[in-house]
């Protein structure tokens, strides 16, 4: 934990109110997100029990499964869910812009994209399991399901995969968003429960956050796992429903189903309201400057996935990625992570404060500028402008000399750390920087590209460059070190994971 994060938690614990952990919102929030609060039956690998879903806070769709172990009802539930979600997921494709690409054909990018918000990371895992258990279902023959079921499965698989990319915002978890923005006086584990977390941030009138959070401890959980006490209440209702089914008594069955529906609705509604309250609070924060850029990547990803889905030869995502695909995923996510960290730092003075305390950034006034300095670098023939800046700071830069630096206030400027020395003024340091970039290509720096005396600037270590990725081998060229090309017949050695995209493949729990 960083010193700033620790301080925030200590202050929250001492005052009883959540403290800011960020000064801007680091994720995109849609104007019209869909909130999805699922419940699964306990004791089952994946048995949907209920869901509150919709884009209107005042009118949620409550979908329930009176007997979650009944496979027909289970896939019927997914079809109901698809009727709500699929139109929402695809309507954004109506409005697109044409985007040119280097080394590739232009493509149509949606100008906005869908966004689904679930209560917690466990909700994202629920979406992944939903995709996994439905995308291979047959739509004909024995045990056929509604065609929308495997289609929603592919969307869910896509969204849950996308959610693993750092900084993406198509599928978000509310507890992640809140904990990223506010520090509370409780542990990470406790922050995982929406009711308690929101209690700290948005206390009841006349109570502290700590008190509200403690009060919320007995509240209905945000799911997908249910409260065991609730399970005990539910069990006889499901038994009554089963009994009515066996007795072939439709009226008793409907009555039992209605009771189950009421019970589940009562359990889920508080979370539904908290979700919208959380969104309201998050919208009050100014949005980070780089958020739109990351949302653009989400829009691209969404558009490309939709285009692929529309192709006649499109197949469900494989159960496990091949060797090349897995390596690509890892490297892409690491690149996204590095980009996210660098961007968030520059967007948010509070995160920058952490970096400054850790010696990875510094802020101060420019006290001297040698603007017309020229240097001929080793291996170069011509002298280039290399202005020298002296910045006075009360921070303590802990970078090694020659570290490449970037400036928050002047995003184009690049510099190198030359020296750090005690300044004439006690308690501060004079940092000497050599300006190395952002001055144009001319023999003299472009007008206004060299900072002037008196400017207050923040410098931090340069973000890793985002060059084009490496050239990956085609899957059929997988080298011997990684098991060779995948066998199209699926006959791989023992223990080997295999791409299984047979639409009829049985899931272990189905």
């Amino acid at each position: 934990m960083s010193a700033v994060a620790a301080l925030g938690r200590l202050r929250a614990a001492a005052t009883g109110y959540a403290q800011p952990a960020a000064t801007v919102r680091h994720r995109h929030l849609s104007d019209r997100p869909v909130v999805f609060v699922p419940y699964a039956m306990s004791g089952e690998a994946f048995a949907p029990l209920a869901a509150l879903v919709g884009d209107d806070p005042a009118a949620p769709h409550l979908l329930i499964v009176p007997q979650p172990r009944d496979r027909d009802r289970r896939f019927g539930h997914v079809a109901d869910l698809a009727a709500v979600l699929l139109p929402y997921l695809t309507e954004w494709l109506a409005k697109t812009e044409t985007i040119e690409r280097k080394n590739d054909d232009p493509y149509e990018r949606a100008v906005d994209a869908p966004q689904i918000v679930v209560p917690s990371p466990a909700g994202i895992e629920y979406v992944r399991l939903l995709g996994r258990s439905t995308r291979f279902r047959r739509t004909d023959g024995e045990y056929a399901v509604d065609p929308d079921v495997p289609l929603l499965g592919r969307w869910c698989t896509y969204l849950a995969e996308r959610a693993r990319t750092p900084g993406s915002s198509l599928l978000l978890a509310m507890t992640d968003l809140l904990a990223r923005t506010w520090a509370t006086g409780q542990s990470d584990l406790e922050n995982g429960e929406l009711a308690a977390l929101l209690g700290w941030i948005d206390p009841d009138p006349g109570r502290t956050g700590a008190e509200t959070a403690r009060e919320a401890e007995g509240a209905a959980p945000a799911g997908p796992a249910t409260d065991p006490k609730f399970d005990e209440r539910l069990a006889p209702m499901i038994a009554a429903y089963d009994h009515a089914q066996r007795a072939d008594d439709p009226r008793a069955g409907a009555r039992a189903e209605e009771r189950i529906r009421d019970a589940l609705g009562g359990e889920l509604m508080p979370t539904w309201h908290r979700m919208w309250r959380g969104l309201e609070l998050l919208r009050e924060l100014p949005v980070g400057a780089s958020v739109a850029g990351r949302w653009e990547i989400d829009r691209m990803s969404y558009s490309l996935f939709s285009a692929d889905l529309a192709k006649p030869d499109s197949r469900p995502q494989p159960r496990t990625p091949g060797a090349v695909a897995a390596a690509q995923q890892l490297v892409r996510r690491e690149t996204a992570q590095a980009r996210l960290e660098a961007e968030q730092l520059r967007d948010d003075p509070l995160l920058m404060a952490e970096a400054r305390l850790a010696g990875q950034a510094f802020r101060g006034d420019i006290v001297a500028v040698e603007a017309d300095r020229m240097v001929t670098e080793p291996g170069k023939k011509q002298a280039r402008p290399r202005p020298l800046l002296v910045l006075r700071t009360s921070d303590e830069p802990l970078m090694t000399l020659d570290t490449e630096l970037e400036c928050v206030e002047r995003p184009k400027a690049k510099a190198k750390l030359v020296a750090v020395a005690e300044s004439a003024q006690g308690g501060t340091l004079d940092v000497r920087l050599e300006l190395t970039g952002g001055m144009g290509r001319g023999k003299t720096p472009e007008e206004g590209s060299v900072p002037e005396t008196g400017e207050l600037l923040t410098w931090t270590t340069a973000a890793p460059g985002f060059r084009g990725g490496p050239k990956w081998p085609e899957p059929e060229e997988t080298p011997w070190t990684h098991g060779g090309p995948p066998d199209p017949d699926g006959g791989r050695p023992e223990g080997a994971a295999e791409d299984d995209d047979d639409p009829g493949a049985e899931e272990p729990w189905s």
Partner: protein, 457 residues
């Protein structure tokens, strides 16, 4: 650190017999490796090398052997420094070889390397005709119009398997060399999704290679020439429980002598303890702190400076040398700690000339380096919890195996209690090879030895 499967004990194939001298045992393994390379029976050969077991020497010998047969050879190293070091060794031992270095456009060779007849180019095509071409894995990944009969992959346990995937199309056969006990490669994002896949991209290159090619011969260098007789048994038992190695020297062959203590304070005491036993623990009072609290940083820097002030003399099978700043190193876990200890040493340098020249670095960057005396800050010092990062045995192994004479540790009291109170709670993943040794147990083994060499501040 990982030993994906308990590595095979060297059998008669490697020709080691009880009672052999260390030199003979090591030579027997080298011969067996070279024989495997020459036999043409294997697509790959793996050589595990414990700390200081002569890995570079083996790489140079193998390179000469392969190039001597007329086979084109590429060498994959992990960092630019490693590439340069290898080229210097190759040029010194085998001046007859035409060497090439594939480099990024902004690479500038150091003075030593620039003086050698090594061809340096940004494109593989410009190095045609070189018998051995050396580069980093990252640079090799950009080559796509050449192919080599053989590759030597150095520090293969520190290479991630996705990096191997990018270069494996360039060679037909390969020798993989590395230390399985050092730090595993890491991912900056959660990689649990791929755990259990045989080609898990977050695992080391050797782990993936061996899961797909279980029949490849695996050799193990049996002697550490770096670690003294006081350290080899502990490091071997704690970090290489199934693949023991021994020290190349006996206790009486090395010694460390210091001038008489000036202050007689705990710093002097712990230096004297370490000079006698090879290990020393300077213990601060227990407390929960941030990673680089002032007291700890100051103590680490003071201790390193004290080792220098005491004007030690190191005597070994290589001769006698004064213990100057270049022979002392400080190891830490975090970059912030490194920066703060460096800054503290620079301040001390006003009173202790040379203190600013003591190498301070993180475990990751100390891998492969060697000093006479090391001072390290225990990764669990001042912590409330024992996370996987801090428990990683590779980190402790690197820190505890860089020295030829003595290793000093600075730690806050209470680490054994912390270990006992925080059993590892990492999720268990199906299909993931069991990794040995267990971090908890290795930590306790090291602490037990340090316990007997403790001085309290």
């Amino acid at each position: 650190m990982e030993l994906t499967t308990p590595a095979p004990t060297p059998g008669p194939a490697d020709g080691i017999r009880p009672g052999m001298t260390p030199a003979k045992a090591a030579a027997a393994v080298t011969d067996a490796v070279l024989a495997d390379l020459g036999s043409g029976r294997h697509r790959g050969v793996v050589v595990d090398s414990p700390p200081g077991a002569g890995k570079s020497t083996l790489v140079v010998k193998a390179a000469a052997e392969i190039a001597g047969r007329g086979d084109a050879l590429m060498i994959v190293a992990q960092t630019n420094n490693q590439v340069d070091d290898l080229l210097l060794r190759l040029a010194a031992d085998h001046p007859e070889l035409q060497l090439g270095r594939l480099s990024a456009a902004d690479y500038r060779p150091g003075e030593e390397l620039a003086a050698l007849p090594v061809r340096i180019a940004g494109k593989a095509a410009d190095l045609d005709g070189c018998e051995v071409v050396v580069s980093t894995a990252a640079k090799w990944a950009l080559v796509d119009d050449r192919r080599w009969a053989w590759a030597i992959v150095d520090e293969a346990y520190q290479m991630r398997s996705d990096a191997l995937l990018l270069v494996a199309r360039l060679f037909d056969r390969a020798l993989f060399v590395g230390d399985p006990g050092q730090l595993d490669p890491f991912a900056t994002v959660d990689a649990a999704q791929w755990h259990g896949l045989t080609y898990d991209p977050s695992q080391s290159a050797v782990a993936v290679l061996r899961r797909h090619n279980p029949d490849l011969p695996v050799h193990r260098l049996p002697v550490s020439w770096r670690l003294p007789a006081t350290a080899a048994p502990l490091v071997s038992e704690a970090f290489y429980p199934f693949t023991p190695f021994r020290s190349g020297t006996e206790k009486h062959e090395r010694s460390l002598e210091f001038a008489a203590a000036r202050h007689g304070d705990p710093y002097d005491d712990v230096v004297d303890v370490a000079a006698g036993s090879g290990w020393g623990l300077l213990e601060l009072p227990s407390g929960y702190t941030l990673p680089s609290d002032d007291e700890t940083v100051r103590t680490v820097a003071e201790l390193a400076a004290r080792v220098l002030v005491r004007r030690g003399t190191a005597r070994s099978e290589r001769g006698t040398n004064p213990l100057d700043a270049g022979r002392i190193a400080v190891g830490v876990s975090h970059r912030e700690q490194r920066s703060r200890v460096e800054a503290a040493l620079r301040r001390i340098a006003a009173d202790v000339p040379g203190a600013g020249d003591i190498v301070v670095d993180t475990a990751n960057r100390l891998q492969g380096r060697e000093f006479d005396v090391t001072v390290f800050l225990h990764p669990l010092s001042g912590r409330r919890d024992a996370t996987a990062f801090h428990l990683e045995t590779g980190r402790l192994c690197v820190l505890a195996s860089r020295h030829r004479h003595a290793c000093l540790v600075v730690a806050r009291a209470g680490i054994p209690e912390l270990l006992d109170a925080h059993p590892s709670a990492e999720p268990v993943h199906l299909g993931l090879p069991v990794s040995f040794p267990d971090g908890w147990e290795a930590n306790h083994a090291v602490l037990a030895t340090l316990e007997g060499n403790r001085v309290r501040v």
